[in-house]
Structure formats: structure tokens, C-alpha cells
Point group: C2
Chain length 105, copies 2
Amino acid sequence: MDIEKRKSLEAAGWKVGDASDFLGLTSAETELVELKTRLALFAKEQRKTNQLSQETLAHKIGSSQSRVAKIESGDPSVSLDLIVKALLSAGTTRQELAQAILDSV
Amino acid sequence: MDIEKRKSLEAAGWKVGDASDFLGLTSAETELVELKTRLALFAKEQRKTNQLSQETLAHKIGSSQSRVAKIESGDPSVSLDLIVKALLSAGTTRQELAQAILDSV
DNA sequence: CTTTAATATGTCATATTTGACATATTAAAA
DNA sequence: TTTTAATATGTCAAATATGACATATTAAAG
């Protein structure tokens, strides 16, 4: 993990240890954050590929446009459950999901 | 989705539509439930493979033995975030995670 | 430029998830 | 059996995620 990636995660609002101690994150926690970030980007790609507006996708998942925007921006208030629900609702297959997990951030 | 699978999901406490209308689940929601169920089973396998007790894994993820039991039993109160954190903390690689997603329930 | 559709950002009351705890059940020794 | 370690189940206050809303910003026409 280089300094630039650390800065970008902190800038995005990710909690880092108790206050701002980045070293407080276990490697599993860091991996999870990176995985969620990757899937957030992928969710945006997939929605566009399937020609859906954020508003349309929001209705499909029973949510709102603003929350879809938060999903795609990697907002730390968004759960992995919601990211995956958005992906599946946008037409992403399990195969594509699995491949996205293999891709690095 | 056959009747037996429906019954098993409902018996496990999964919310189904507004009250008990199973048909109220979208296919994306059903896929997500099945995915979480698969990963819950996989989490139990991985913990055992790596010779960890629930108590030990609980400490690694900053949680408790009882919640690890809930993760592994597919309890509906457990988030996908927590399931994946448990997997990664038990030593599961991204490759193994991706493969588990491809496996059917 | 102006209009209009799409996306982003901030806030908040409500809903869901959380770790912790007590306690029950099961499994493995001794 | 009895003891002891491991796992399961139920509950709850606190923490976190949620949809909804207002509004700002951006993009695409016209």
C-alpha cells in the first residue's frame, strides 16, 4: 500500500483505525475496502453498459438516485450487500462478478 | 427455485417480500440470498481448513464467538461485508473467493 | 446562451446490523 | 459417567446503513 492510495482512501472518508491511524487496519480490512472500491467502479461500468440511468436502477433495487450515486462513488456508508444487489440488478452475472473480484483495483 | 429451497430459506428466517410473499423477491434479491448462503458455508469450511476456532476468528475480526456462529449458519442478520471479512481473515484468497462465487449453492 | 436530463453531495429519521452477554447444546476426552 | 472445549441460540443497546429529500453540479441538446 503506497502513500497515494492511503491518501485517496482517507480522502474518500474511509475510517482508518480509531481516528486516522491507517496502520490500525488489518490486512483483511484493507482487502475488503479495496474489494468494495473495485466493485463500486464495476457497478458504474455495468449500469452504463446496460444503458440504465441511476434513477432507473434505483427503482429496480428499491432505492433512490442519490444512493446509487453513493454506491458508484465508493461512499463508505454503502454496504457490500447493496453494491452487489446493484450489480445483479444491473444484469451482472456471477461469472462477471467473480472476474471483477480477481481484477486489481 | 423449487418449493424445498423456498421452505429452507423461509425456515432460516429470510425476509420474503413484505410479509411472507416469497414471490415478492426479485431475481437479484434471490441471487444475493443464495450467494450469501454459499459464502456462509464456505466461511465455515475455510475456518476449519485453517484450524481456527470460532473464538480465535472472532478476535481476528473484532467480534464474538456467537456472531461467528451466526455468520456460518447463514443467519439473515449477518451482512455480506461481515461474511467476506471473516473469509479474508481466515486466510481465504481473492482467487478462492471468486471461485466460491462461481460454485452453485 | 437556455433548457433539461443526469449525476453528485449533504442531511436526517428510520431500519438494520453489530458486538457482547447469558445460556443451551454438542463433542471430545479422561 | 464427568469434565471441558467448541459451537449454537436468543436478546438487546449501540453503531451503522438506509431511502428519501433538497439542492448543487455537470452534460447534452436545442
